[in-house]
């Protein structure tokens, strides 16, 4: 009998290696993996995202153990987590603070990719899977926010589901699929609960794709020129493990500050009032991470127009690798982009702040200017800049 395992192998690493070469795979991908030498702190945000996701999944599972997806009990079950379940307050704060950390890291991570041109060939798929992850996190966060069944949960979900309903063609069937009834009620809550954790686990799968794509095309770097010789790279371990470890400690200090000292900083107090379908809270607004898109909805004096522009503001990002075809990557080396991109970042922040304020004429004007600049940057400046660079 000839078998590929005919040699008597007793050495444990060898035994495993012959059957399932995980150790050498890990070694290739996470120890000896060649990294550019000149990465800066912005390259640590991917590690932050992975760690935050781990916190989200762990805390989410333990919340789900005590949560009741029923409109008569959901609010009370979350209150019980906060008050009576041992350490429940900690687990819930990890989950709520984690959402903020997750979105903050996502936005910075994406901003980094925009600034250093990481979306360009050959990293288009890395960019697209990343944007897909952002959309999935948004859906997950939306569904999760409904679960505590507070006033903001209820009215936020009502507004969003009606917005979905208004999308031409697919909107109506999609919102009916989510609602499962005439109004937001028990059926919808249960569906959103299932959607919430299913999407969270699906995110893990897409993260795996994202990282796999990264390991094929390797990391971009601030110079935008991919290293060609081994002397221009350093092994991931110990160089970037130690550095990410340090950055992670600083990151966790911020996260811990939010969880232990400022748990109410970014949450809306009205969500501690149980959902009441007869009364809309006076100052209804979304959590900070949805504020920019909310500001777009409010600034456009047409329902369909607002929806189109809000989703368009994300859609342009998906087309970016093809709008910007120049080989030059970092904005630092592209005079036009260097001016225009920071303004686009500022526009995003203006929209975020506007979304958290009452829609006074001043904020509406600021929002409209910001929206205009966002689209000008991506649809005009980027193609123009790359045109000029390619011809010179």
């Amino acid at each position: 009998m000839t078998s590929p395992l005919k040699t008597p192998d007793t050495d444990p690493p060898d035994w495993l290696e012959r059957r399932l070469p995980v150790m050498s795979l890990l070694r290739r991908q996470y120890v000896a993996f060649p990294m550019p030498r000149n990465l800066n702190a912005f390259w640590s945000f991917g590690a932050f995202l992975i760690v935050t996701m781990a916190f989200m999944i762990a805390s989410g599972l333990f919340l789900a153990i005590n949560y009741t997806p029923d409109i008569t009990q959901a609010f009370a079950s979350v209150e019980a987590i906060d008050r009576q379940i041992p350490s429940g307050w900690f687990i819930r704060s990890l989950h709520m603070g984690g959402v903020t950390m997750l979105f903050a890291c996502l936005y910075i991570h994406i901003g980094r990719s925009l600034w250093y041109g990481s979306y360009k060939a050959p990293r288009e798929l890395l960019w697209l899977t990343g944007l897909g992850l952002m959309l999935m996190v948004m859906v997950t966060a939306f569904a999760g926010y409904v679960l505590p069944w507070g006033q903001m949960s209820y009215w936020g979900a009502t507004v969003i589901l009606n917005a979905v309903h208004a999308i031409p063609l697919i909107g109506q069937p999609l919102s009916e699929l989510l609602l499962g009834g005439d109004t937001l009620g028990n059926v919808a809550l249960h569906r959103l609960f299932v959607l919430h954790f299913t999407m969270a686990f699906a995110i893990l799968g897409v993260i795996a794709l994202h990282v796999a794509a990264l390991h094929v095309v390797k990391s971009n770097n601030p110079s935008g020129i991919d290293p060609v010789s081994p002397s221009q790279t350093l092994p991931f371990h110990p160089y970037y493990t130690s550095r990410d470890g340090f950055a992670l400690c600083l990151f966790l200090m911020v996260y811990a500050g939010l969880v232990f000292f400022l748990p109410d900083l970014l949450t809306l107090a009205d969500n501690y009032v149980q959902a009441n379908p007869l009364v809309t809270p006076r100052d209804i607004r979304p959590e900070w991470y949805f504020a920019p898109f909310y500001a777009i909805l409010r600034a456009v004096p047409s329902r369909l127009g607002g929806l189109l522009l809000a989703s368009g503001s994300l859609a342009v990002l998906f087309t970016l690798p093809w709008l910007d075809r120049s080989a030059l990557r970092p904005a630092t080396r592209r005079p036009m982009v260097r001016l225009s991109l920071p303004l686009a970042f500022a526009a995003f922040m203006v929209l975020g702040v506007a979304g958290m304020h009452a829609p006074t004429p001043a904020w509406l004007l600021a929002s409209r200017v910001a929206i205009a600049w966002w689209f000008i940057h991506f649809l005009l400046v980027m193609p123009l800049a790359s045109e000029r660079e390619m011809s010179s």
């Binding site: 333990f62 009576q84 041992p86 350490s87 110990p238």
Partner: protein, 210 residues
């Protein structure tokens, strides 16, 4: 970490090794500490001494030979009113010989129920209806309902027999007598489950087998 990457300074190597090991050990310790609240959250919050609930039961509708069940702390509690025949049967010597723990030596009841009738008052029996074998709920054999029925309990799952005082038969797979909850008679027809006036320090967590 390959040796060639170690900084060349002679004592630096040792220091980094100490630093590296220390950091990794401390990091792992932190991760373990993080697991504590998660495990903690799985503890049963009802299992604290504050949660001993009191339940008042009205016995006025219970006629001799009848039994009723109520729910206390999510356990079924059987309350039976015994006839003189049932009480006599509990003391019959040839019956006692068939029991595993006729004198209630195992701590399955408060002190004021550690007696031949395993209850505060002989006329009433109060038992937790959870079989000490594997936890099924035994059923009452109303005296006279069948020729053998003497007001004991029979567990359908693996055939354990208990007498009217909840004492387990020697032949049964169940190891212990049925547990007796702490009770106090507020009046002749009013029973409070959850507190024993005769054994105030008693807590259900002292019970051997439930």
């Amino acid at each position: 970490m390959t040796q060639s990457e170690t900084p060349p300074s002679s004592d630096g190597t040792r220091r980094r090794d100490l630093l590296a090991t220390g950091t990794v050990v401390l990091g792992c310790a932190g991760a373990c500490a993080l697991a504590v609240p998660f495990v903690e959250s799985l503890k049963n919050p009802v299992a604290n001494p504050l949660s001993d609930r009191l339940l008042d039961v009205d016995l006025s509708s219970l006629t001799p030979g009848q039994d009723m069940s109520v729910r206390w702390r999510d356990w079924p509690v059987f309350i039976q009113r015994r006839t003189p025949q049932m009480l006599a049967a509990l003391q019959a010597p040839d019956h006692l010989a068939t029991l595993r723990d006729a004198d209630s030596k195992v701590l399955q009841q408060p002190k004021d129920a550690t007696n031949w009738h395993r209850s505060v008052r002989p006329e009433y029996g109060v038992l937790i209806g959870v079989c000490t074998h594997l936890g099924c709920v035994p059923s009452f054999e109303k005296p006279g309902s069948t020729p053998e029925a003497k007001g004991g309990y029979f567990c359908p799952c693996h055939g354990s027999h208990f007498d009217a005082a909840g004492r387990v038969a020697r032949r049964a797979p169940a190891p212990c007598n049925l547990p007796v909850p702490p009770v106090t008679f507020l009046s002749d027809t009013k029973l409070r489950i959850g507190h024993s006036a005769g054994d105030p320090g008693f807590s259900m967590s002292d019970i051997q087998q439930i």
